[in-house]
């Protein structure tokens, strides 16, 4: 089966330091994959490479069969890759609804002139965007927060809002950067359920970075392990749990008892 996303020999250097080197990974369409590793291993760097924030120093990244090296982040978003951020990056002054509308605007047809002249086409377009955004918020149980300022929302809702916003771009691949960070066990269980559900409902492929092993082992079908910028293991949760290199580098003995 051809992979939706493929990284071949990807290296990213900052000056003399290689943040990641020689990365070979692929994600198949519809998969729910995980990326784990100690802090500083380069996981967010991988996300930044995938979304165009960094340009690979070496190697090739192909998405849906087309090379995306060097494309600007907004172009990559248009191609169908969306993400959330490790440190939440919502548009704090805007309402939750507006946050989602901004992302939904990617798929709208209306131009700048239409906006300035307030054409009926634009008004219809904006109405549709408004409806789509509200539907998305409702789907993620956020409709009560629609009019709240994003910066004022409680932490858990902010994380969920970031996911809703990413979904509004109608992505094929969703990258989640530590979505469970700072959540209590109940919230994590709900999150796991949510990720599985949206993967199905929105026909997504998901790649997630996470530190909580229960979450990773619980929902990921395949896991990549990163250490010092290199992939040291790849496989199903069972395989990873038992891999001696992974245990040495990251999991420690607790993983065996998990």
């Amino acid at each position: 089966m051809s992979a939706l996303l493929r990284m071949e020999g990807v290296t990213k250097r900052f000056g003399g330091l290689a943040a990641v080197s020689g990365l070979d990974l692929h994600i198949d369409s519809g998969e729910l994959a995980g990326l784990i590793g100690p802090n500083g291993a380069g996981k967010t760097t991988v996300f930044n490479l995938l979304t165009g924030v960094y340009v690979p120093t070496e190697g090739a990244i192909t998405f849906d069969g087309r090379l995306i090296n060097g494309l600007k982040p907004c172009r990559i978003a248009a191609r169908g890759i969306a993400r959330t951020f490790q440190n939440i990056r919502l548009f704090r002054e805007l309402t939750a609804l507006d946050n989602v509308k901004v992302a939904a605007h990617l798929r709208s047809r209306a131009g700048l002139a239409a906006a300035i002249f307030r054409t009926p086409g634009l008004l219809a377009n904006d109405r549709a965007l408004d409806q789509a955004a509200r539907a998305l918020l409702a789907r993620l149980n956020l409709e009560h927060a629609a009019a709240s300022r994003a910066g004022d929302l409680p932490y858990g809702l902010q994380r969920r809002l970031e996911i809703a916003r990413a979904l509004a771009t109608e992505p094929r691949l969703l990258l989640l950067d530590e979505p469970a960070a700072g959540m209590n066990p109940q919230e994590k269980a709900e999150l796991m359920h949510l990720i599985r559900a949206i993967r199905q409902d929105f026909h997504l492929t998901v790649l997630l970075i996470e530190h909580d092993m229960r979450v990773v082992m619980g929902i990921c079908e395949r896991i990549y392990v990163l250490d010092y910028g290199e992939i040291i293991a790849e496989g199903t949760p069972e395989q990873i749990r038992r891999d001696p290199r992974v245990i040495a580098a990251y999991l420690g003995d607790e993983a065996v008892h998990c």
């Binding site: 900052f14 967010t44 930044n48 924030v53 951020f85």
Partner: protein, 370 residues
């Protein structure tokens, strides 16, 4: 060829003045990430202090009538220099304390009293000229009264105002302070240009090749070098200097390590301002340029460009940038066709450097963590 060297000498002299000012910019940027727009006006204050010291306050001998007093004049010149540096250090500390610190720490009672005096100034000036005894008394009385009146206002504001850590707001405040100094200077000193007459005899040295160097050019160069060396010693070998460097890396960590950041920041401002003051006093006394309250604006901007050129926050970079800036301007000024564009060269350089190498020549680019 000799002409080129001549231009270069002038460029280095000009550059060392820019370097002195640029050092202040870069140090403040290093510790606070703030562009202290008002810094160029501190240079202007230094020039005015030099002016008043040389013409009114200190007993300079008239060299035309008493040529033998040259030696004592030189000694007095040093006193004037130190005076300018001290006054400017005070101005720098005051600017930090009343314009920038409230942005970090919020308004306090001291701020209420400061603003009381500020508002009292024009009121007292209406009563009688400030320089007179009654005017001064009026200032003190009204100032103190207004200060106490403003205390509850400040307390109310302190409860309701969220602290702004935005660099942009600090920049706007800096621009505002600069304007206050310039326009306040216009009110106090008047718009008429002043200049300091020759108080130190000027001697010209002729080097092989027909190159001429004036003693004043040498003096500026030597004093600037000495001050820069002193600064380097302070930054590298004293505890305060180490604290400054720590704050420029990570201010929160510095606080956690027990460094009194407010004090060190004030010290940084004092250091930078005294250098700028020295530059102002020297340029006024030794090059007999016309001093007006607005004359610090352009050199200030150019020095800022120099600081960015060398790498904002980088001290050797500021010195390097200053020299380069001075030489570039000297070259442009000497050219027949583009001479009048000498002021624009600074900004063209700025735009180029920010496009090509925003971190500056000696700076390190710190990528934003996503």
């Amino acid at each position: 060829m000799a002409e080129l060297v001549q231009i270069l000498i002038y460029g280095v002299q000009l550059g060392s003045l820019y370097a002195l000012i640029a050092l202040g910019y870069t140090m403040v940027y290093g510790v606070l990430r703030l562009i202290n727009f008002a810094h160029g006006d501190v240079y202007m204050v230094g020039a005015y202090v030099g002016f008043y010291a040389c013409t009114q306050w200190l007993p300079f001998a008239d060299l035309a009538r008493n040529p033998g007093a040259a030696g004592s004049n030189v000694a007095l010149a040093f006193v004037a220099l130190l005076l300018a540096m001290a006054v400017c250090a005070g101005v720098g500390v005051a600017i930090e304390r009343f314009a920038y610190r409230p942005l970090r720490n919020g308004l306090t009672h001291a701020d209420a009293h400061f603003w009381g005096f500020v508002v009292a100034l024009p009121i007292a000036a209406r009563v009688s000229p400030l320089a007179s005894a009654t005017g001064f008394a009026a200032l003190v009385v009204v100032g103190v009264v207004l200060g106490f009146a403003l205390r509850p206002v400040v307390a109310w504001l302190r409860r309701r105002v969220a602290l702004s850590t935005s660099r942009l707001n600090a920049l706007i405040t800096a621009i505002g302070v600069s304007l206050v100094l310039e326009n306040g200077g216009l009110l106090v000193f008047g718009a008429n240009p002043n200049f300091i007459p020759t108080v130190i005899p000027e001697r010209t040295f002729t080097l092989p090749g027909g190159i001429q160097v004036g003693s004043s050019q040498l003096a500026i160069l030597l004093v600037s070098l000495a001050l820069m060396a002193l600064l380097r010693h302070i930054v590298l070998f004293t505890r305060a200097g180490k604290a400054m460097r720590a704050i420029s890396h990570d201010i929160e960590a510095a606080k956690l390590m027990g460094i009194d950041t407010d004090r060190v920041i004030a010290y940084t401002f004092a250091l930078g301002a005294s250098l700028a003051g020295a530059g102002g006093a020297m340029v006024a006394a030794l090059t007999h340029v016309k001093i007006t309250p607005l004359f610090g604006l352009l050199p200030g901007l150019k020095a800022f460009v120099a600081a960015v050129l060398g790498g904002a926050g980088n001290i050797p970079g500021a010195a390097l940038g200053g020299i380069l800036m001075g030489v570039a301007e000297a070259l442009v000024a000497a050219s027949q066709k583009y001479g009048t564009y000498r002021d624009a060269i600074a900004f063209c350089l700025l735009i180029v450097i920010l496009l090509v190498r925003p971190a500056g020549i000696l700076g390190r680019h710190v990528p934003e963590k996503v």
